[in-house]
């Protein structure tokens, strides 16, 4: 389900298992959900260096390593911790509502994720 709220896209989806990641593609919005110790984080699923999808990378704590060149990001802030990435990843606000993950994507049209 998706609803309009203050011109933001609310994407509802299932959450990944603790320690795991799940890629969600909503009409061109490629989003990566990460579960670290029960906390859910949502990021743009494209390395800020070479736009590589990140779900094949390694998640260690809050550090996510890009599978292509090894840049490491802090998934809490999206900040790159090592080169070759220099720009932060976009991060999205996330909350849990009735057992589902709700991601807010500012300024996006309303879309519903695939089941």
């Amino acid at each position: 389900m998706a609803e309009v709220e203050d011109s933001q896209c609310r994407v509802e989806t299932d959450e990944p298992e603790p320690g795991a990641m799940r890629a969600v593609d909503v009409d061109g919005h490629e989003i990566l959900l990460c579960n670290v110790g029960g906390e859910i984080y949502a990021l743009r699923n494209a390395c800020s260096h070479a736009t590589t999808r990140l779900e094949g990378g390694q998640l260690r704590g809050h550090r996510l390593e890009c599978p292509l060149h090894g840049a490491i990001f802090d998934i809490r802030s999206g900040v790159p911790l090592t080169p070759p990435a220099r720009k932060p990843l976009e991060v999205y606000p996330v909350e849990r509502v009735q057992g589902r993950v709700v991601i807010r994507i500012p300024g996006s049209p309303v879309r519903t994720p695939p089941a």
Binding site: H49, Q58, R60, G61, P67, H69, G70, A71, P83
Partner: protein, 439 residues
């Protein structure tokens, strides 16, 4: 106890003959001169087995870590076969580094310069626009260059010399002495690197004798014996054994179970310090018994191959050229002293804190980096931060002082024989005489 090993190991404790190494000063130029640093690189660093990291850090195929030594960076990678391989961290196209220093996981290694890609076994996976190389792209010649890589004790070791003798031969007495500690069952509690303004040997030397305890660590004499310290020099490597949980003969509490020993040893090991009625000679055996009978089962570790002394005292080994072990039985500190790529007045000090805990895996501690400053006291999991700060405080001052016209070279006493032995071993490499010897 629920543990019994069929082939029990024991660390040889007999003394080695004292080496006759003369009394000359150690020339200070060895610590200061770029020319000597270059000789070290050409003749020693590129020919000795070097500790690179931990097998546990690369458990799954594709897991890798880099190790930086002098001007080189090496990728150490778990293979799909389960073996560990090492490759220069250098793209064969234009020499770009493939990965930043650190550790991670890769299905392949892509160069961020021209997108050449390599499989985890180092073979070429793909070359961007290969048809534009009219000379052809011979894949076997373009694979990542291999580095000799072997393991002992859960540690990964590298040798930049393709013709090097096997690791075990190089290590000599070390496996016989240290296998009873079962380093393969140890897990990392902490991992810190400090960049220090001193030569790497200034740092090795600083830990290679008991003579500095009274001057650098006077607060430790209340619980450590810096006088009755057996020192043994082997072919390449050396050892000293520093008794702990006993006050130094220099200290007024010598022979007494003082409050420091009660709190920092008996109570820390879970013994009721206020109820302890034994004498000074009873403290060590009580701690050893506690480790074997209480901590061992809790950790899932069998400490029965270690003597009382090995479960209390600091068994201190220097593995040539740049590894210092402080082994306390249940725990250990490992120091690695790495040369700077081009400046003999700088080095990298790596600190690894270990706990023998074969049961549940501990989370891998984050690798923390610092540049040394006078007020730096690194808080270390497992302790030792204040002690280390006392040592590192000296290091840049020693290096600066060695540059002075008022200093000719190291004037060493018999408590410092390991430093003389270390330089003797280094000299044998500088002169090209060492490679055929054994550890």
């Amino acid at each position: 106890m629920g543990f019994q090993r069929s082939n029990r190991l024991s660390t040889p404790l007999e003394r080695s003959p004292a080496p006759q190494l003369g009394f000359d000063r150690i020339p200070k130029e060895r610590y200061l001169s770029p020319e000597f640093a270059h000789l070290e690189w050409e003749q020693m660093w590129t020919k000795t087995w070097l500790f690179a990291g931990f097998e546990k850090d690369i458990a799954e195929p594709g897991d890798y870590f880099t190790t930086e030594i002098g001007p080189e960076s090496i990728l150490v990678i778990r293979q799909r076969s389960g073996e560990i391989a090492a490759r220069y961290n250098v793209c064969r196209h234009r020499g770009n580094r493939l990965r930043e220093p650190g550790m991670g996981h890769a299905e392949s290694f892509a160069c961020a310069f021209h997108d050449w890609r390599y499989n985890i076994d180092g073979s070429v996976k793909s070359i961007h626009d290969p048809e534009t190389f009219p000379q052809g792209c011979p894949l076997e010649d373009l694979a990542l260059k291999p580095v000799r890589c072997e393991t002992w004790g859960g540690f990964v070791w590298l040798n930049l010399d393709p013709e090097a003798r096997p690791l075990r031969e190089y290590l000599g007495i070390i496996p016989d002495h240290l296998d009873p500690y079962h380093f393969e069952e140890m897990q990392l509690l902490d991992h810190v690197t400090i960049e220090v303004a001193c030569n790497w040997k200034t740092s090795v030397d600083a830990f290679n004798e008991p003579y500095h305890m009274a001057g650098t660590h006077p607060d430790t004499l209340v619980f450590s014996d810096d006088v009755n310290v057996p020192i043994d020099c082997y072919d390449h490597h050396s050892r000293m054994i520093m008794p702990l949980a006993v006050a130094s003969p220099r200290h007024p509490d010598h022979g007494r179970v003082n409050e420091e020993i009660r709190q920092n040893f008996l109570a820390r090991f879970g013994i009721d310090a206020s109820a302890f009625e034994g004498g000074a000679a009873d403290v060590g055996p009580a701690i050893a018994k506690q480790v074997r009978e209480v901590h061992g089962p809790a950790l899932g570790a069998d400490f029965s191959e270690l003597t009382d002394s090995q479960l209390v005292d600091d068994f201190h080994y220097t593995v040539f050229p740049n590894i210092t072990f402080n082994i306390f039985g249940m725990t250990a500190w490992v120091f690695r002293h790495r040369p700077h790529p081009h400046d003999p007045d700088r080095m990298f000090f790596d600190f690894f804190s270990l706990l023998r805990s074969p049961g549940d895996p501990l989370p891998r501690p984050e690798h923390r980096h610092y540049e040394l400053s006078d007020d730096l006291v690194v808080e270390l999991a497992g302790g030792g931060g204040e002690l280390l700060a006392q040592d590192t405080y000296n290091l840049p001052r020693i290096q600066a002082g060695m540059h002075s016209q008022g200093f000719e070279g190291l004037f060493l006493g018999e408590q410092e024989i390991r430093i003389r032995h270390f330089h003797e071993t280094l000299q044998s490499y500088i002169e090209g005489k060492a490679s055929a010897g054994s550890g």
